[in-house]
Amino acid sequence: MHPVAMAEATQKRTHWAVWLGLLLTVLGLAGNAVSFARLSSVAFTWLIMAVPVLGAMFLVLGVVPAFRQPQAYRGKLWGSILAALSLLLCAASVLLFVFTRQLPSSRGAPQVGRRVPEFTLPDSSGQPVSLSQLLAGTSGATPPKGVLLVFYRGYW
């Protein structure tokens, strides 16, 4: 290899923004995967939506120098591939955020101070259970101070 080319090759480096962008993208991917676990907070969902967006930004910022100053920065090919993938992930992250927030307004649902409608539904062994039964408690024992109804999507 020509001595000048060798010198140039050793001086070429990957722009720091590529590494930061890569880290943020991986964190964002992991974050979105675990966000379906029980302990997500509202703040966390905003965070892991934004992290891949930042990751894509930094990756693009870090790949541009490889084209503008190719003698100083490397990563034209694999940097571009990573940047493209991170943009896809960024879009997916935003779409996921929008999707999990598309819930009905439920304006007609029972509010604080109102009595809830009575119901009778089968339990996991098929036995019918009524709300008034639950509120009254099992015979002999003291009635419970309250009942927590937890409506969930199912299909866990």
């Binding site: 819930l103 604080v112 927590l148 937890v150 409506f151």
Partner: protein, 92 residues
């Protein structure tokens, strides 16, 4: 006492209770009739394009009156133990 309600049929809830070791009550509303009555229906949001419930929690006192209600804006976000305990304290 917590009561979990969804469109899952009794067999599915029984399996969930067994595998997760839950001891609280699970009730099945496969046609989403009670879910509808409580205005919690999330049409076609299930994996088979079926109607399911949106997530919601209601703390009732012994008269069946709502003392605390929670309607999450994001189905990944659920009330934690602390939040539920704090709500339960208000029943004393």
């Amino acid at each position: 006492m917590p009561v979990a309600i969804s469109v899952d049929p009794p067999e599915v809830s029984a399996h969930l209770r067994k595998t997760q070791g839950y001891t609280f009550l699970f009730l099945s509303d496969p046609k989403a009739e009670v879910i509808r009555r409580y205005d919690l229906l999330h049409p076609r949001a299930g994996p088979e394009d079926n109607d399911i419930s949106r997530p919601a929690e209601f703390l009732l006192d012994s008269t069946g009156t709502v003392r605390w209600a929670n309607f999450t804006e994001d189905f990944r976000v659920r009330p934690g133990g602390q939040q539920l305990l704090a709500a339960a304290q208000s029943l004393k």
